[in-house]
């Protein structure tokens, strides 16, 4: 940890955050709004990377955790009118419970079987939202009466601050001894267990941390949008974006995942003039990165630095 603070990565990150913090002073509200969403998305991707990159669990259902947090917070605010902060906290806690439930099969099944279990969890949540339309707003979406603030600059700073703090915690965790044990149990669970580490406990902890940040970010996003809908926080397509972000930015780097998410959202916006081809172009670029630079953006940069 000590040499991290003197490393180049730390300085680059610091400069990036400082530059990003000054953006509201000279760019339009439109760009701020775009980046606000991108930052929340970055937290989704980083939380996913902790599970996949380190614990080695292919979670196809990041939106199960995100959606649970987002909808819990939204419904509590909509039905009972509780304060925004209480709702956000309870949303994150609901997501932790969901993560615990999702983690139970993870301790039994592996590989594609686990991937499918998580995918099914998302489909169930989606069905739940549509079937209980009275409570959740169904396919139209849930209207949320309160927002944190309507100031674009303040929203942007909240998102940036939240992403920075999450990144620091998740990155710190991934570099700590716990992260190393997780990485070992992801790559060779038998040997890691033979070395005396409790794999089940570590993976469960990874799930809970990942779920907490996913849920928190989902709840914050809902209060930023003022609405919760299947298309924004639950749909499998959203989950695919999270996974693509993490792989694009560089798996097992945590910080790269945030980079990938920001790239994905901003690129999607820049390509808007191309109309329906935008998604095609983004997917094609992502596929090329997967095929030719499997380490992702940050993975490629870090390995070059390590070599020199």
């Amino acid at each position: 940890m000590a040499n991290f603070f003197t490393s180049r990565l730390f300085f680059i990150s610091l400069v990036c955050v400082v530059v990003a913090a000054t953006l509201p002073l000279y760019v339009s509200g439109y760009i701020l709004g775009l980046l606000t969403v991108a930052f929340y998305f970055g937290v989704f991707a980083m939380a996913w990377d902790l599970l996949f990159g380190f614990a080695g669990e292919v979670n196809f259902g990041p939106t199960f955790l995100i959606g649970t947090g987002a909808y819990t917070a939204g419904i509590l605010n909509n039905q009972y009118g509780w304060s925004v902060y209480v709702c956000i906290l309870l949303g994150a806690l609901a997501s932790v419970v969901a993560g615990f439930v999702l983690a139970l099969p993870a301790l039994r099944v592996r590989g594609p079987y686990f991937g499918l279990t998580t995918l099914v969890a998302v489909l169930m949540l989606q069905n739940f939202v549509v079937v209980f339309a009275d409570l959740t707003g169904g396919e139209i979406g849930l209207t949320i009466p309160d927002v944190i603030t309507i100031n674009a600059g303040a929203n942007y700073w909240i998102a940036l601050g939240f992403m920075t703090v999450s990144a620091a915690i998740l990155y710190g965790l991934s570099q700590s001894p716990v992260g190393l044990v997780l990485q070992a149990s992801g790559q060779d669970p038998v040997q890691a267990g033979a070395l005396g580490f409790n794999i089940v406990k570590h993976k469960l902890a990874a799930f809970i941390v990942s779920a907490f940040f996913s849920g928190l970010s989902g709840a914050l996003l809902v209060f930023y949008f003022g609405t919760a809908s299947v298309g924004t926080v639950v749909d499998v397509a959203v989950g695919v974006n999270v996974i693509v972000s993490a792989v694009l930015g560089g798996r097992r780097t945590v910080l790269g995942a945030a980079l990938g998410a920001i790239f994905l959202i901003v690129a999607g916006e820049f390509l808007r003039p191309t109309g329906e081809l935008a998604t095609f172009i983004v997917s094609a670029v992502a596929l090329l990165v997967v095929l030719f630079f499997p380490g992702g953006f940050l993975g490629a940069a870090l390995s070059r630095e390590a070599r020199s």
Binding site: V58, V109, P112, M124, V247, L291
Partner: protein, 291 residues
């Protein structure tokens, strides 16, 4: 009467599911690849058959053949452009190839889906059925197309069984799914077996796609649900086990039909999902899984 109707309707959809899932499970059994562009290839076949009839003005049979041909080309493209480069890549560690193949084929599927949406819009397309009209089975009016679909599916699956169990090439494929190293020691080129399997897969997915286009109609929105249903059928039956997938396809098909008739079409997919979760807990390797 309702029971008979469910029996007839459920059979056609189950047979279609079985055909779609067979190719998917065959590839997994032989090369360990889960092809997440499966739904996109099926939709591409159906849309190609539709376009052949309505844009190129071909007759129904040539249109259907054209659809299957497009699926075959797509399957080879998936293998050579996405799967093979990842499998041969030296920069990707072996234990992570699985997730890279999943991500790669997923992105490839999205690309196909977006291209279809761009050139042919998102509207649902129905391929003209080869046989038309309805017949009366013990008082149930059944479209002839349902019977035709079920017959073709059973015939194709039967042919596949013959191919795998009775021909030299088929036996090589079977052997590769049991022990790839043993096959190479016997002097067979593994790459060639993979190419054969992807060819079989393309034809199966193509036929399933065209039949689906005649039976229910497809749009680019069907890509995700189709992949998900094939994935869940295959896992329910046991990854890599063809007979397991056949059983699972009928279980899922009938469960959906019963729910749609007895409760509500809105809840159609829920019982199958619950069953899947249940099986995951009790028997993680699926009904007839080997591991």
């Amino acid at each position: 009467m309702l029971a008979l109707q469910i029996l007839i309707d459920g059979f056609a959809i189950s047979a279609l599911y079985a055909l779609g899932a067979t190719g998917f499970t065959l590839i997994f059994g032989v090369s360990g690849v889960l092809n997440l562009s499966h739904g996109a290839i099926m939709v591409a076949a159906a849309v190609a058959a539709w376009a052949a009839a309505s844009v190129l003005h071909l007759d129904i049979y040539s249109g259907a053949l054209f659809g299957v041909g497009v699926a075959l080309i797509m399957a080879f493209a998936t293998y050579f452009a996405v799967v093979k480069p990842i499998q041969n890549s030296r920069r990707i560690p072996n234990e992570e190839k699985e997730i890279f193949v999943l991500t790669g084929t997923l992105l490839w599927g999205i690309m196909i889906q977006e291209l279809i949406a761009y050139f042919f819009t998102n509207n649902a397309k129905t391929v003209l059925p080869i046989v038309e009209g309805v017949v009366d089975i013990f008082g149930n009016r059944t479209p002839r197309n349902n019977i035709f679909t079920a017959l073709v599916c059973c015939l194709v699956i039967g042919l596949l069984w013959l191919l795998v169990n009775r021909t030299r090439t088929g036996k090589a494929v079977l052997a590769a799914s049991m022990n790839p190293r043993g096959v190479t020691l016997l002097g067979l080129e593994l790459t060639q077996i993979y190419i054969v399997v992807w060819g079989i897969y393309g034809i199966l997915a193509g036929i399933a796609g065209v039949l689906l286009g005649m039976f229910l109609g497809v749009s680019s929105y069907s890509v995700g649900p189709l992949t998900a249903s094939a994935f869940s059928i295959v896992v329910l039956g046991g990854l890599g086990s063809v007979s397991g997938s056949l059983i699972a396809a009928f279980v899922v098909g009938y469960l959906e039909t019963i729910t749609a008739y007895m409760i509500s079409p809105a809840y159609r997919t829920i019982p199958a999902l619950l069953l899947l979760v249940f099986v995951m807990y009790i028997r993680p390797q699926g009904l007839l899984g080997r591991r």
